[in-house]
């Protein structure tokens, strides 16, 4: 499905998401406030996005941006769902009740960014050892064991 059709479909079904829909690099994205993220995901799942492809986060300084990539077999389309999370209190509702696929992915985000997913059944570190300190993919992560690469370019 082309991205414009997808936008029309979203606008027809959920008018409040329509102004939040943006198209960038040929890909659709809906940026919602944090309170709306879980219900928006449920709405989009209702619409036909049956797969949660990816959960990740981006460190935007004052805030974290949490990014969900949704895929649909029936619509043959994919799109982003994004929300900003305050850095001081990073809490996001868990998507595990909608897609079990979120289970490990959210554990990974928790591990590497320290974002807490409320309602997650088993929120533990997944990639790093349990006693690891800090969350390495944050931009302010410091670790004296890292040797920075000399700047050749």
């Amino acid at each position: 499905m082309r991205i414009e059709e997808l936008r029309e479909r979203v606008c027809a079904m959920y008018p409040d998401l329509c102004p939040l829909f943006s198209i960038e690099f040929g890909d659709g994205a809906i940026s919602v406030p944090l309170e709306r993220v879980h219900s928006a995901a449920a709405d989009l799942k209702e619409m036909g996005f049956d797969r949660l492809g990816m959960v990740t986060a981006v460190d935007r300084g004052e805030e974290f941006e949490i990014v969900y990539r949704l895929q649909s077999r029936d619509l043959r389309a994919g799109m982003f769902l994004k929300a900003l999370v305050p850095r001081s209190d990073p809490r996001v509702p868990s998507m595990c009740d909608l897609w079990p696929a979120a289970n490990w992915q959210e554990r990974e985000v928790y591990d590497l960014f320290g974002i807490v997913f409320e309602g997650h059944p088993d929120l533990r570190r997944i990639l790093l050892p349990d006693d690891w300190e800090g969350h390495p993919l944050r931009k302010d992560y410091v670790d004296e064991r890292i040797i920075p690469r000399p700047d050749y370019i």
Binding site: P129, D131, P136, Y141, D143, R145, I146, P150
Partner: protein, 207 residues
């Protein structure tokens, strides 16, 4: 320890035993060199080349080198791949489970020095020689099976210089000083913390 230590001690005390000792050394070193059973400590990409090495085309069985999955039956640990901080205690433990005499081959740049994962990363151990006594280093990312073959031949040369007598062999692993370089960090305390053995029955082989 094995009967070989008593034999070596006995020969050293006996007048003229030194001559016998060198003969026994020559026989033992020949046997050990020709029968190097490897433990495939394959962690990453290099493990693929390790597999290729023992399969049809390269066939290390020709040299008497076969991979055995049980560390208790092995002579050489081939560390093939990146070792991370989470993996390191397991590697160390499997090395400890191997019976003496044992050797280590660091296969690939990651096992030699961290390789491409030397800079910028927080979780990679920069070379297995931070916690294991490495005998042969193979460069390459990953090294070709021929390079591994060369390493086995180099290791034979090295074994030929060893002796069953304690006075002549290299120090045991337990005598080696552990790294204290602050940059290398608290390698072994992290190792102990990770050994959270859930069950008493899992103690012996972590395999």
């Amino acid at each position: 320890m094995a009967a070989i230590d008593e034999l070596a001690e006995f020969l050293e005390r006996t007048p003229g035993g030194g001559i016998l000792l060198t003969t026994v050394d020559a026989v033992m070193n020949w046997a050990r060199g020709k029968s190097l059973w490897t433990f495939p400590m394959g962690t990453a990409c290099c493990a693929m080349e390790f597999i290729a090495a023992s399969f049809s085309r390269f066939d290390f069985d020709r040299h008497g080198t076969i991979p055995r999955p049980d560390p208790r039956h092995c002579d050489v640990m081939v560390v093939a791949g990146t070792v991370t901080r989470k993996m390191m205690p397991a590697v160390k433990r499997i090395y400890d489970q191997m019976p003496e005499p044992k050797w280590v081959v660091a296969m690939g740049n990651c096992a030699v020095s961290g390789g491409i994962f030397y800079y910028d990363t927080y979780s990679v151990v920069r070379g297995v020689d931070e916690f294991l006594p490495v005998d042969v280093y193979i460069a390459g990312c990953p090294p070709r099976p021929e390079a591994l073959q060369d390493a086995i031949l180099q290791l034979r040369k090295k074994i030929a210089t060893e002796s069953i007598s304690k006075r002549r062999t290299r120090p045991l692993v337990s005598d080696l000083a552990l790294p204290t370089d602050p940059r290398k960090g608290d390698l072994l305390s992290a190792a102990d913390a990770d050994e959270e053995d859930e069950a008493p029955a899992t103690r012996s082989v972590s395999a």
